[in-house]
Amino acid sequence: MSDIHLTIDGRDVTIPAGSTILDGAKALEIPIPTLCHMEGHTPFTSCFLCVVEVEGVKNPVPSCSTAAAEGMVVHTLSDRIRQTRKLCLELLASEHTGDCYGHCHVTCPAGIEIPQFVSAIARGESEEALRILKRRMPLPSSLGRVCTRPCEAVCRRGQRDEAVAICSLKVVAGDPDLDGERRTVPECAPDTGKKVAVIGAGPAGISAAFYLRQMGHEVTVIDGQETVGGMLRWGIPAFRLPSHIIEREFRQVEQMGARLEFGRWLGRDFTLGDLRAQGYDAVFLGLGAQAASSARIPGEDTPGVMPGIEILAKASRGQEVDLGDTVMVVGGGNTAMDCCRTALRLQKGKGKVILLYRRTRAEMPALEVEIEEAIHEGTEMRFLAAPIRIEPSRDGKGLAVTCQRMELGPPDSSGRRRPVPMEGSEYVEEVTTLVNAIGQRFDAAALKGSEEVGLDRWGNIASDPYTGQTSVPWVFSGGDCSPGDKDMIAVWAVQAGHRAALAIGQFLGGEEIIGDGYEWYSTIGRPGDPAPKAILDRLTPAERARMPVIADAERLSGFVEVELGLGQERGRVEAKRCIVCGCLAVEDCKLKSYGTEYRIQPGRLAGAIRDYLLDDSHPKLLLESGKCLLCGSCVRACAAHGKDVLGFVGRGFNTVVMPSLGRRLIDTACDGCLDCAKVCPTGAIMVKPGATTSS
């Protein structure tokens, strides 16, 4: 047979007669995505991802099975083709019943590969666990103690017994590294010659420095305080997060070659212009939220009224603060709980601490465990009331706080029921100190002399939500000073620092600035949604490890850390409770990589999804038919192997690939050649870890 000449994307190619358009594209090294095509097999033509346009043909044609013809003119990259492929992938993604990653992983603001680090602990490899953790989050010992744990809220195990103690396991992985003997710091790339200033040695800044150094950039961290830690140090009491942990963990960037400078404040001692003049190529602003929010009530400036962060900072520095015998803390967040517990300690257990919150316990944003600890240590909780006026008490020694009772109205924008004042319900409470723990905000004084940096509508530094880039191209920001619409917690700050580091790297390298980049991944439902029963049925009930704590008697006498940590052995047992949600094939899943490449948005096609079916019977293979694309590759591979174990069962949307007659894989003639798993474009058929071809 003679050769055929055709043109693909404007390039001529000559291929043997009988070839397909896909063969022609291959000869030209023009990539055409396909999910159902297998080299050496008759084209199946089911996925329709490989469509191309042929001039003179009305509709797109599948290139895998369309014979190339003499003089054919083919286009593989037109808008129409791109849109068709995108819709194809969106349809496949919209029916896909599979978790690329654990829901904990996708919920973690920093994107920690949680099931992977937990598995490493379960195997007894805490160093490997630390390495995995630090790919996304360099401060496991610190954050492991204070994170609000969004990951644990969505842990699948929580739907059967209790969530895995993910956060405490970070400490299990991180603490051995701080004890002196071991020190795991990542390698840094050779110097790039670029200089970056990081303003703020809190979690955002140190995270940025950590990743910037790995890229080989010269990093100087400048902080106005006397040492590292930022709000984790000055806003969180040492009995929750001891200073020495912060000190050692944050200073790992020094070991990586970053320079740390203290006692210099942006806006007071220098400006961005000064940094430019000193030759810095880029700046990361991790300035934090230094100013206490005002309650906007009369008498707030009366002596005896103190912002919560001021007390916490003083306590952190070991300074004595005289609060008198009756302290009222106003607020319902974790800072308010910290203030209560700090006040109890400052009073050496001899005073009274009252917490006043305008809603009820159910609406408190503080973590349940923190509320419990505060009550356990002696805090009196008073709900549905708020201060409306503060005056000096008649004896002049304290404060007369006029409070008003509240009732709950309809939910507000945060979804919590709005407190509504009750007319004529005012009463007076006599206290020695009133602590306002109703929040902090960014203090724009830091931008004095650097006003070119734009602010957002909340008065914070405006930055791109994906890159952290501010209105000044060489200046990036993140964390509490630039929260955007996020409810900023420390782990978000770490993510912001990491993302900005990537963006700064791109900026310095002259690349497109995309930050972390786009990644499409699949989840079964939204994190926290009820899990398929088959997943929960795999769980053997096991009790969550209880955190050992110091004796009650020791608590209020000082600022010793209350939690003793799970320790390696208990941690390992706890880690084994994790069922490692996520897909074994995530690294080489074609649906995921094409979905990412085509930036699919399957949400617009949300509807019924494939049934979650699990066949775990085979020693080497794992079948999760919910992830099947019906490409038939495994069916053909199995037939080619002479077995015909797998086939299509059912019709239409409910079609699944499985052994016939409802058998499990173990009950078939399967000889474990694993060809099916090798050709599966997704994780519908997976080789179990450790399994090999030899039977």
Binding site: S46, C47, F48, V51, G607, R651, G652
Partner: protein, 599 residues
């Protein structure tokens, strides 16, 4: 022996229509009643059966042929009526005219129904006994085959077919003669003929009627086709839901084999032809030729990419010619009467006649065969008698679930492959579902898509997932949860599904949605924007209330309400509690004072 003639020339012959439609209407009981009555009375009357004559709305139908040549057709016969017919007509010699097609009041209706029809494919249906080869032979049966074998020129057969302009009646509309030519030209000694009798469109029963009423015509057409393309073996792929058709086919095959009209060395020539029946298991997609072939081969019924076409690589990899039942049924007539006679009917590109199954909101539902080129209006209003509800006709769905809704304002469209396609519908295999103003077009689109979505084989991504997503959107709209963006998404999905599906199912499944969006967009918008179903079909969008001015307080509605949400004292105005009303319509149905208002 064909009815209309008699064995001895002096007995009356009674013929009961025993198509599935007749049987469903009670014809079996009628036949037994005649057997019993005739036996009891010892009358010199022979009793026979036939297939469907097409007037399904008047079944059971009984024909009476008298030796003197008088022929009357009784409609809607019951065992009781049979007794009276035996008494007054068969014994007494006086037909009961008001029950017959030939007498008033039915005559005008029957004239209108049959007046515009031209029966080619249906020429013997309702006339002959389908289980009697002699009846068929008496109507020129197998003469075309004999003539073809005598001429011994396959090329001439193909030329005649091409000259006739016959196009595939299964829906594809591909010129039959050309298809035969391709199969004949394909290399290889072994070729197959397949008769596609996997009629799957809801509301379509053309092929069933032909198979039940005139199976030999199909066999003869297949034999001629086999001779023309050089095949010696054939399969009839018939859905198992057609047991009567299969039974009559089996009888016909064995009768034809006995007479050497099928089997080895037909009529003393060297031409051999074996026909087998393959019963389909009910998958709609197996009506698609490549899926059908896989199914015969014992594989999963899933289409594959064409080319290669079955004419090149078909059953067991051999060249295969596939035509549908109606196409084959036309073939003997064309060979007997010449391609020109067939081509004389119809339009420039659509020749001959076409069988349609009329169903839905139509006065005279049934099977009609009309010349191509007739307008939809003539079929619906003259043959079909218009709406059976008194409400004006709104649209007709042509081509089954793969077809489209043609609105009333386009009823002057002629039955012609190209003209119908221009409306967005397709000629299809002949289903016509008629809708009046009480039909909600969004709901109709949802109904047809629900069918195709469930029948998708699941192979092609766009068809498998896309049709479900479209269905989900339509369900949302009919539940009052639609958004305007949904209409754009429906169109995006519809266009892509049509463009990127291997077979006709996916390529046409969006048609009902696209045509209703095109012609009845206002109804979609009424649902989405105003939360209103203009046809008052979509329950979640309706409110039932009681008009105080009309309510007499009879308490009937309150008593039938299954959720007890209607309150009111006797002789006082009643009120429906909207929060609990399930919109079941019970109150509406029982109210004698038209006081229940639906908005």
């Amino acid at each position: 022996m064909a009815p209309g003639t008699t064995a001895s020339g002096d007995t009356i012959r009674v013929v009961v229509g025993l198509g599935s439609c007749g049987i469903a209407a009670g014809a079996q009981d009628v036949k037994e009643a005649f057997e019993r009555l005739l036996g009891e009375r010892q009358l010199p009357v022979t009793l026979g059966v036939t297939g469907c004559i097409g007037a399904c709305h008047r079944e059971p139908i009984v024909e009476v042929y008298e030796p003197a040549g008088r022929h009357v057709t009784y409609a809607a016969v019951t065992p009781e009526r049979a007794a009276k017919i035996v008494e007054e007509h068969l014994a007494g010699g006086h037909p009961i005219e008001e029950w017959t097609f030939q007498g008033e009041p039915l005559k005008a209706e029957v004239d209108a129904y049959f007046g515009k029809q031209t029966r080619v494919a249906l020429r013997n249906c309702g006339v002959i006994d389908p289980e009697s080869i002699d009846d068929y032979l008496g109507r020129e049966g197998y003469k075309a085959l004999g003539q073809v074998l005598a001429d011994n020129s396959p090329e001439k057969v193909i030329e005649t077919l091409i000259a006739s302009g016959l196009r595939g009646r299964g829906g594809g509309g591909f010129p039959t003669g050309t298809k035969w030519k391709f199969t004949r030209a394909a290399p290889g000694p072994k070729k197959y003929i397949i008769c596609n009798a996997d009629e799957g469109d809801p509301g379509a029963f053309m092929d069933r009627s032909v198979l039940e009423g005139d199976p030999h015509a199909v066999l003869e057409g297949m034999a001629i086709g086999a001779f023309a393309v050089g095949a010696d073996e054939a399969y009839i792929y018939c859905r198992a839901e057609y047991p009567l058709a299969i039974k009559r086919l089996r009888i016909a095959i064995s009768q034809a084999e006995e007479r050497n009209l099928l089997g080895p060395g037909i009529a003393g020539t060297s031409f051999s032809f074996k026909v087998k029946i393959k019963e389909g298991a009910g998958a709609f997609v197996c009506g698609e030729e490549t899926a059908l072939i896989f199914s015969i081969e014992g594989r999963r019924g899933m289409p594959r990419k064409r080319p290669p076409f079955p004419a090149q690589e078909g059953l067991w990899g051999k060249p295969t010619n596939i035509n549908n039942v109606e196409t084959f049924a036309n073939v003997p007539w064309i060979l007997r009467n010449g391609g020109g006679a067939f081509a004389a009917m119809g339009t420039e590109k659509s020749k001959g006649s076409k069988v349609f199954a009329l169903a839905g909101k139509i006065k005279r539902g049934g099977l009609v065969e009309v010349p191509m080129g007739i307008t939809l209006r003539e079929i619906l209003e003259e043959v079909g008698g218009g709406s059976d509800t008194g409400k004006p006709l709104k649209a007709v769905q042509m081509g089954g679930p793969s077809g489209g809704c043609i609105p009333a304002r386009l009823f002057d469209t002629r039955v012609d492959y190209d003209e119908v396609t221009r409306t967005g519908a397709i000629m299809g295999s002949g289903g016509m579902v008629v809708m009046d103003s009480s039909s909600c077009m969004v709901d109709i689109a949802r109904f047809f898509l629900d069918f195709t979505q469930k029948e998708s084989c699941g192979k092609c991504t766009f068809c498998r997932v896309g049709t479900l997503r479209m269905l989900e959107i339509l369900e949302r709209i009919t539940q009052g949860k639609g958004k305007m963006e949904d209409l754009a998404l429906l169109e995006e999905l519809a266009v892509k599904i049509k463009e990127t599906s291997l077979c006709g199912l996916g390529q046409t499944a969006p048609n009902p949605v696209l045509t209703t969006l095109k012609y009845f967009r206002d109804e979609y918008e009424a649902h989405v924007v105003h939360g209103r179903c203009p046809a008052k079909v979509c329950k979640p969008l309706l409110t039932f209330s009681i008009d105080p001015a009309a309510c007499t307080g009879c308490t009937l509605c309150a008593r039938v309400c299954p959720v007890k949400c209607i309150s009111g004292e006797k002789k006082q105005t009643h009120v429906i509690d909207q929060t609990r009303c399930t919109k079941c319509s019970s109150c509406l149905e029982v109210c004698k004072d038209n006081a229940v208002v639906v908005k």
